[in-house]
C-alpha cells in the first residue's frame, strides 16, 4: 500500500503521529532529522573537501534543458552538493576522455556545463516539490488551487474505477475506457479497418464498414463509434500527452499506453519545439520502397553542423550561445574557430543574439522571411554555377558511392509537369522507356517487372534521369548501377513535359530577382551575394544550421526545405565539417539480437488501432469521415505527428472524438504554447475533458488544472536514456540514473515490490489494477517479471553495454573490482527501494560478466564512442547515407485538408503568418512584430525554481530597438503591456477567474531589428510556486520571485478560423511563435 498516508479526514496532529510510525513517509520529509544529522556530520568532518573523492561522485545526465549534457554529481552525505561536467561526455570536454580512462583518474576532473546545469540542485531540492498525491478538492473548480492529499492506492482506485469523484456527477475511470482487451480481436479489427481505409470507392468503403459491424457484432460496444470503426476502440479515449520525455522512461510509458492499454494517443510536444524542422527532415528522408512503389520510412529527425570542423556556418534562427543543443557542446568549437581563425560564421536573426556578437556578419532579417534570403542565395549560386554539380548529379546510391558520397538527392530526377504544375516523378513506363511484364522470381512466384529496350529488368516502374540528354531509367537504391543525371533540365519526352527536381526549385528561385528577394527579407541584395559567395567558398565545409527561428512559422516547413536545399547545393551532407545526424547506441537489443530483444519481451500485447486525436495516422481522404468536402473541422496532419498545439483544442472540439481521460506528463502545455490561454480555458472545463491526471514534481502551470497530481522524481532521482543531438558526430547514449533520493521520499507497493512514488509507479499501479499485458510478474514473458522500473531500464543499459554485434565484440569492458567497489560506494546513500545491487543484477539475469559491463557504462554515465572514431577521411562515420528528397513526391501528392489542395513538394517561398485556411492576417493597429527567444539561464517553465539563476536575470525584459523606444517615448525599464488582435486585453487566462496581465519591462537595445520586439522564455509564472495554493486546508504561500516578469505567449496570434488554437504550419506541424503583430503600451 502507499505509505504517504494522510487523508483529509485526519487532523494534522494525527497525520504526523501516523506518518511518524510508518517509515519513509512524506511527513518525514518536513522533519529536520536528515538535514540536522547531515549538517552535524558535515560539521564534524575531519578532512573538509570530501567532494573530490570518487566515491562521492556519480555520473549522470542533466535535464535542466534538453541538451542532455553528461554531468558528474558530487555528493556530501548523500546530498547532491555540486554538479560538474562528466568528462567522458563529448558534451562537456572537447575532445572528451577516452572511454577506457579508469574512473578513479577522473575524481578531480570535470567538464564544462552551463549555468542551468550548475543550478540543477535547486530543481531537485525545491521546497515546492509535492510529496503526496494531490486531488482537486471536491466542490472546487479546476485551477482554483485547492487540494487534498490522498493515499496513493486510493488515488489509483479512484482513477481506475471512476465514479462521482468530485460531486460533479459520474466520471469514467480507466476501467471504463479499457474496453477492447482481447489482443486477437483487436488485431482482427485493426486489419479490417486497414481494409476499409485502403478502399478508395465510397460505396465499397461503406459496404466494408457494414461488414465490419457484422463481423464484430459482439464487440461494437468497445468502439468509439461503430459507424466509424476507423476511430478505433474506446481505449483511444485515454490520451497520454507529454512535454519533455526521453527514451527509457518513454519506452515504459508507451508500453503502458499503446501496448498494454491499447490507445493510439501517446503524443509528445515536438511541434512546439522545432516541429517543422523535424517533419521537413522526415519528408526529406522518406526512402523509396520498391515493394509498394511508395516513399516511406522517413525518420523524424534533422541535421546539424559538425560544429568543430566546418569552416563557415550560417546560423539561421538558431540561438547558439543561449540555447540550442547546446552551449556546452557547441560553443567551445565556435569560440576556438573564431580566435584561431579556423572558422567563422554568420547569424541570421532579427535579434542580435549573443552569438551574433561574435559573428562575422549579422543579418537582422525580417521575421518569417528567411526563405526569401535562401531563395535569393539559391538563385545566385545556381546562376553563377557555384553549386556542387557532382553531388547534385548523383541520382542514386551507386552514383553517390562511385563519387565518394554516402547520400544523394532527388534533384536530378525528372518530375512530370501537368498543366504547368509539378506532380509525381515521371516513371519510365510513362515515357515508354520500359515495358511492363511479368516474370517468376526465385521462389517461382509471378511478379510484375519493368524491362528496358536493352533488357534491363526492374521490379518496379523505375524513375528517370537525363544522362547526356537521354532519359535513363534507374533504381534509386541500386548500389551497382550508378546514374549521374543532369541536375538542371526542362524537357519534353514523348510528349511528356518534365523538369528535374532542382530545375523546379531553381525556377522558384528565379521567380524574383535578388533585389526583390532582399526587399522581401528586409535586407540588402549585397547581403545575399556576400553570404552566397562565402557559403560557396569552403567546399563541403560550409553549412547552414537552422532552428526554431526558421521552423516555428506558418511557412516553417518551406523555410527549412529552402535552407536544406542550400546545404545540398554544396553537397555537405555526411561530410566532415558538413551536415550530420545524431547516432545512438542501440538499446532495444534488436541489432545484436540480444542480450534483451525488448520488442519480443511481452507476455501479451494489446493492438492499438484507429485514428489518433491529432489525425496523423492516416489521411482524411482514406478515413470514413471523408465526405469530399473541405475544409475539415480541424486540420489533419498527414506529414507530421506529436502536434502539441492540437492536443487540447481537439479535445475541446471533441474532434474526431471525445477524450475522456487526459494524462499529462512533464508538460506545461498551456504555458509553453503560443496563445496558451486558449488551452487553459479548455483544461479548466470538466465537461470537455472529464478527467485530467498529471505527473509533476510540483503544482505546475498545466498540472494546476488537473484533477489528480502524482508526484514524480526529479531528473537527479530517476532513469532515462537521453540520446543525442544532430551536432554530435560520435555514437553515444547518455544514461540518466538515480543519483540522490530525497530523504524520506514516499514509496509505494506494486506487485508487492516497494518502489519510489514516481511517474512509473503511477503507470505500473494502474497496470497492476487492470492486469494489463506487458507488466507484472510475467510482464516480459513467462517468468520474467516487470514489476519494478529497473527491470526495464537495466535491460536497456545491458543492451547498450553489450553493443550492436551479435558476437559481443562491440561490448564495453567489464568493470574491474575497484570500479565495482566505487560503483557500490558511490550509491551507498540510496535506499533499497532505489538501489539494490541484488535486484539490479537480477534484472539482467544475474549474468556476472554483463553486470560488470553494465557497471562500466553506469560509472561513466553512458556510452561514448572515442573521439577519433567519428571521422573516416572526409566523411563522418555515423553518416546519414541515404536519399534526400529535394523534390518530394509524397508531399506533393498529400492534401491540405483546410484548402483541399495538395502541398507544395519542394523549397518554395510562402509568405509567413497565414491562417489555417490560407488567408493572410491583417492586424491593423498592431504595429510591432513579436518574437521570442531563450536565454542561457532559463529553461521553459522549469528553471524559475532555481534562485541561483534568478540572481543573474530575475525577470527578463522585452527587447526593443532604441529608435522604436524613442518613438514611443519609452525609457529603459518602463513597464509596458503587450496585446494583440486575438488578445486585445493582453492578459492570461490564469486560474479560475483571475487574469494575469502581460505587463513587463522594456530593455532598450540597439541589437533588435526596428519594429520587432522579443521576450525571453521562462518568466511570468502563475503556478510552479508562484502563487498561493491550499493543501488539506493549509495555505501554502507562493513566492513572488517566481511570478516576476512576464510571459508573452498569450499575445501570440490565435488562428482566426479555428479560434481556439495558435497559428500552425499545416505541412510541418509547427506551432507558430514568430508571426504575431502586437501593440506595446506604456502602463
Amino acid at each position: 500500500m502507499a505509505k504517504n498516508s494522510g487523508s483529509k479526514r485526519l487532523s494534522r496532529r494525527d497525520f504526523l503521529k501516523l506518518s511518524a510510525v510508518t517509515a519513509g513517509t512524506a511527513a518525514l520529509l518536513g522533519n529536520l532529522p536528515v538535514y540536522k544529522t547531515l549538517i552535524a556530520r558535515a560539521a564534524s568532518m575531519a578532512s573538509a573537501y570530501t567532494l573530490a573523492d570518487i566515491k562521492n561522485q556519480i555520473n549522470t545526465v542533466c535535464l535542466q534543458c534538453n541538451t542532455g549534457c553528461g554531468i558528474k554529481v558530487k555528493l556530501l552525505e548523500g546530498v547532491a552538493a555540486k554538479i560538474e561536467g562528466n568528462p567522458y561526455s563529448p558534451w562537456t570536454l572537447w575532445p572528451h576522455l577516452p572511454y577506457k580512462t579508469p574512473l578513479k583518474e577522473t575524481a578531480t576532473l570535470g567538464g564544462a556545463i552551463c549555468p542551468k546545469g550548475q543550478s540543477g540542485l535547486q530543481t531537485a531540492y525545491d521546497p515546492y516539490r509535492i510529496v503526496s498525491v494531490l486531488k482537486r478538492k471536491p466542490g472546487t473548480k479546476r485551477g482554483e488551487g485547492k487540494w487534498i492529499t490522498i493515499p496513493f492506492e486510493q488515488a489509483i482506485e479512484e482513477i481506475v474505477e471512476g465514479g462521482d469523484l468530485f460531486g460533479e456527477g459520474h466520471v469514467d475511470g480507466f476501467r471504463a475506457l479499457y474496453a477492447l482487451r482481447d489482443p486477437n480481436v483487436a488485431k482482427q479489427m485493426s486489419d479490417a479497418v486497414t481494409k476499409i481505409l485502403d478502399e478508395k470507392d465510397p460505396d465499397k468503403k461503406r459496404a466494408l464498414v457494414e461488414e465490419f459491424k457484422r463481423t464484430f457484432a459482439d464487440y461494437l460496444d468497445t468502439l468509439i463509434d461503430p459507424d466509424h470503426p476507423d476511430l478505433g476502440p474506446k481505449n483511444n479515449q485515454f490520451a497520454f500527452v507529454w512535454g519533455r520525455l526521453k527514451n527509457g522512461r518513454g519506452d515504459l510509458f508507451k508500453r503502458f499506453v499503446i501496448d498494454a492499454f491499447g490507445s493510439v494517443n501517446a503524443n509528445g510536444h515536438t511541434t512546439v519545439c522545432q516541429g517543422s524542422l523535424y517533419f521537413a527532415g522526415k519528408a526529406l528522408s522518406e526512402q523509396f520502397d520498391p515493394k509498394t512503389g511508395k516513399f516511406t520510412g522517413g525518420s523524424k529527425f534533422y541535421w546539424q553542423t559538425d560544429t568543430a570542423n566546418s569552416e563557415f556556418v550560417i546560423y539561421v534562427g538558431a540561438n547558439m550561445f543561449d540555447a540550442n543543443y547546446g552551449p556546452p557542446q557547441r560553443v567551445p568549437k565556435m569560440t576556438e574557430g573564431n580566435v584561431s581563425g579556423g572558422s567563422k560564421y554568420a547569424v541570421v536573426d532579427p535579434r542580435h543574439s549573443k552569438a551574433a556578437a561574435k559573428a562575422w556578419k549579422w543579418i537582422p532579417i525580417k521575421p518569417g522571411e528567411d526563405a526569401a534570403l535562401a531563395m535569393g542565395m539559391i538563385r545566385w549560386i545556381i546562376e553563377n554555377e557555384r553549386y556542387n554539380k557532382q553531388f547534385m548529379s548523383n541520382a542514386n546510391k551507386a552514383a553517390a558511392l562511385a563519387n565518394g558520397e554516402k547520400s544523394w538527392t532527388t534533384g536530378p530526377w525528372l518530375v512530370k509537369i501537368k498543366d504547368g504544375k509539378p506532380g509525381k516523378f515521371v516513371r519510365a513506363s510513362e515515357l515508354g522507356l520500359v515495358e511492363k511484364g511479368t516474370a517468376t522470381d526465385a521462389e517461382g512466384k509471378e511478379i510484375t517487372v519493368y524491362t528496358t529496350a536493352d533488357g534491363v529488368q526492374f521490379p518496379f516502374d523505375p524513375f528517370v534521369a537525363l544522362v547526356d540528354g537521354q532519359p535513363v531509367p534507374f533504381d534509386p537504391n541500386s548500389t551497382d548501377v550508378p546514374v549521374v543525371g543532369e541536375p538542371l533540365a526542362h524537357v519534353t519526352i514523348n510528349g511528356v513535359e518534365c523538369k528535374t527536381g532542382l530545375q523546379i526549385i531553381f525556377e522558384e528561385a528565379q521567380s524574383r530577382t535578388i533585389e526583390e528577394w532582399a526587399e522581401i527579407a528586409g535586407i540588402q541584395a549585397s547581403d545575399i551575394i556576400e553570404l552566397a559567395t562565402e557559403f560557396t567558398s569552403h567546399g563541403t565545409k560550409a553549412c547552414v544550421d537552422i532552428h526554431r527561428g526558421v521552423s516555428q512559422h506558418t511557412n516553417g516547413f518551406y523555410n527549412v526545405l529552402a535552407w536544406y536545399t542550400l546545404n545540398c547545393l554544396v553537397g555537405n551532407v555526411d561530410h566532415v565539417g558538413g551536415m550530420i545526424k545524431g547516432t545512438t547506441y542501440e538499446y532495444t537489443g534488436s541489432k545484436a539480437g540480444g542480450p534483451f530483444v525488448l520488442s519480443k519481451l511481452y507476455n501479451a500485447k494489446n493492438v492499438a488501432f484507429g485514428l489518433d486525436i491529432l489525425r496523423t495516422r492516416f489521411t482524411y481522404e482514406k478515413s470514413t469521415l471523408f465526405d469530399g468536402t473541405y475544409p475539415t473541422k480541424r486540420p489533419w496532419f498527414p506529414l507530421a505527428t506529436d502536434l502539441y498545439q492540437e492536443d487540447i483544442p481537439s479535445m475541446g472540439d471533441m474532434y474526431p472524438y471525445q477524450v475522456k481521460i487526459l494524462m499529462l506528463y512533464m508538460s506545461a502545455i498551456n504555458y509553453a504554447l503560443p496563445s496558451g490561454q486558449t488551452v487553459s480555458e479548455i483544461l479548466a472545463d470538466p465537461k470537455k475533458i472529464p478527467l485530467i491526471i498529471a505527473s509533476d514534481i510540483l503544482i505546475g502551470e498545466a498540472s494546476q488544472y488537473a484533477d489528480y497530481i502524482f508526484p514524480d522524481l526529479s531528473f537527479l532521482e530517476r532513469w532515462e536514456l537521453h540520446g543525442t543531438h544532430p551536432s554530435v558526430p560520435w555514437k553515444v547514449e547518455n544514461v540518466r540514473q538515480p543519483v540522490i533520493s530525497i530523504p524520506g521520499w514516499p514509496t509505494v507497493k506494486v506487485w508487492g515490490e516497494e518502489i519510489p512514488l514516481s511517474a512509473e509507479a503511477l503507470m505500473m499501479a494502474i497496470a497492476e489494477r487492470l492486469e494489463l499485458p506487458g507488466f507484472g510478474p510475467n510482464g516480459f514473458g513467462e517468468g520474467i517479471p516487470f514489476t519494478r522500473p529497473e527491470h526495464l531500464y537495466l535491460k536497456q543499459v545491458a543492451n547498450i553495454a553489450f553493443g550492436e554485434k551479435p558476437d559481443g565484440s562491440d561490448a564495453v569492458p567489464e568493470a574491474d573490482d575497484e570500479e565495482v567497489e566505487i560503483f557500490l560506494q558511490a550509491r551507498r546513500h540510496l535506499p533499497k527501494s532505489v538501489f539494490d545491487p541484488e535486484v539490479w543484477k537480477a534484472a539482467i539475469g544475474n549474468d556476472e560478466s554483463l553486470w560488470r559491463r553494465v557497471i562500466y557504462v553506469l560509472n561513466r554515465g553512458g556510452r561514448y564512442q572515442d573521439f577519433a572514431k567519428a571521422y573516416q577521411g572526409d566523411l563522418v562515420t555515423n553518416a546519414y547515407g541515404k536519399q534526400l528528397n529535394l523534390y518530394q513526391e509524397k508531399t506533393a501528392t498529400t492534401i491540405n485538408t483546410m484548402t483541399g489542395k495538395p502541398f507544395i513538394g519542394y523549397a518554395a517561398y510562402i509568405p509567413p503568418g497565414i491562417s489555417s485556411v490560407g488567408e493572410a492576417i491583417e492586424d491593423q493597429g498592431y504595429d510591432f512584430h513579436l518574437i521570442t527567444h531563450k536565454i542561457i539561464t532559463m529553461t521553459k517553465a522549469r528553471t524559475i525554481t532555481n534562485y541561483w539563476l534568478l540572481a543573474v536575470e530575475p525577470e527578463g525584459y522585452l527587447l526593443m530597438n532604441a529608435s522604436d523606444a524613442r518613438r514611443l517615448g519609452l525609457k529603459d525599464g518602463d513597464r509596458v503591456r503587450i496585446s494583440s488582435a486575438s488578445n486585445p486585453k493582453g492578459e492570461w487566462f490564469d486560474r479560475d477567474g483571475n487574469r494575469k496581465p502581460m505587463i513587463g519591462k522594456v530593455k532598450i537595445v540597439e541589437g533588435m531589428r526596428p519594429g520587432v520586439v522579443s521576450f525571453p522564455l521562462g518568466y511570468g509564472h502563475w503556478a510552479s510556486g508562484a502563487t498561493d495554493v491550499e493543501i488539506d486546508g493549509r495555505r501554502i504561500k507562493g513566492d513572488p520571485r517566481r511570478a516576476a516578469g512576464f510571459h508573452g505567449n498569450a499575445a501570440m496570434r490565435v488562428d482566426p478560423h479555428l479560434g481556439n488554437v495558435t497559428l500552425s504550419d499545416l505541412a510541418g506541424g509547427s506551432a507558430v511563435f514568430y508571426d504575431t503583430k502586437v501593440k506595446i503600451e506604456k502602463v
Binding site: G30, Y35, A81, P115, Y125, P127, P328, R1034
Partner: protein, 261 residues
Amino acid sequence: MSNVLEELAISVLAAAPAEGDVLIRMKAELERALQKPEEQRRWVMVIDLRKCVGCHACTVACVAENKLPPGVVYRQVAEEEIGTYPNVSMRFIPRPCLHCDKPPCVDVCPVSATYKRPDGIVAMDYERCIGCRYCMNACPYASRYFDFGFSNYDETPEAEGLIVGKPQGSLSETLPSFEYGKVWLRKREQSPIGNVRKCHFCLHRIEVGELPACTVTCIGRATYFGDANDPESLVAHLISRPNVMRLREELGTQPRVYYLV
C-alpha cells in the same frame, strides 16, 4: 596521478584537431605546480574576452561551489552593448577578484584578515575578519561582497508532509562550503556570515588538484588558470602575448587576472 593525466592529455591531444581540451592541459599543469612548494607557485587567471560568450556558467558555478548566499557573488559577467543598429556588438567581461599584487584591500585591513599569500592568492581569514567592510571600499574593482546572512529560502514555506518544504528544499544552500579547506556552515551570525567574502581562486579545489569551478565550467574556454612561474604553462604563454591587458592598470594594483582582447 599527475603522470596519468599528462599521458591522458597527450593521448587526447593526439586525437584532437586543436590543442586538445585546455581543461585537460591545465589540469595536468596544476598537478605539476602542486609538486612545488607553495611559495614557488604563482597562480594567475587569464580571461580571453574574444571567447567569453556571456553564459554566466562561471558565475553560477562559483555560487554553487562556494554556496554563496544571495547578495554575495565572486564572479559576475558584465555585459556591454557596443555600437548602433545595425552595427552592433556585445562585450562580456567576467569579473573575479583580480588577486592584485599590490592589493589595496589588504593594505587597509586593520587586522590582516585579508592577506596576500605567497602563491599570489588574496585570501580571507573569516575567523579574524571583524566585518568593518573597509576592504570593500578600498577595492577599486568591486570584487568584495559582504555576507549579511541572507538565504534564498527565508520566505519559502515549511508545510511538512504537504510539500518538500524549506528544511530540505533549501539543502542546495544550507550545505557547508569548503572555502579555504575548512567546513563553513550557515549558522546565524557565524562566519562567514558577517564577513566580507571574495574569490579565492578556489584554493580548496586547487589544493586537491582540481581547477577552479569557474575555469572548469567555462563553456567558451575563455578562462585559463595556472602557475605563471611554470614557463611551460598555458597561462605563462598567454600572458606574454601582445594582446593582454589588465583592468585599470593606472591604479598600480598589478592584478594577477589578465584579459586577452
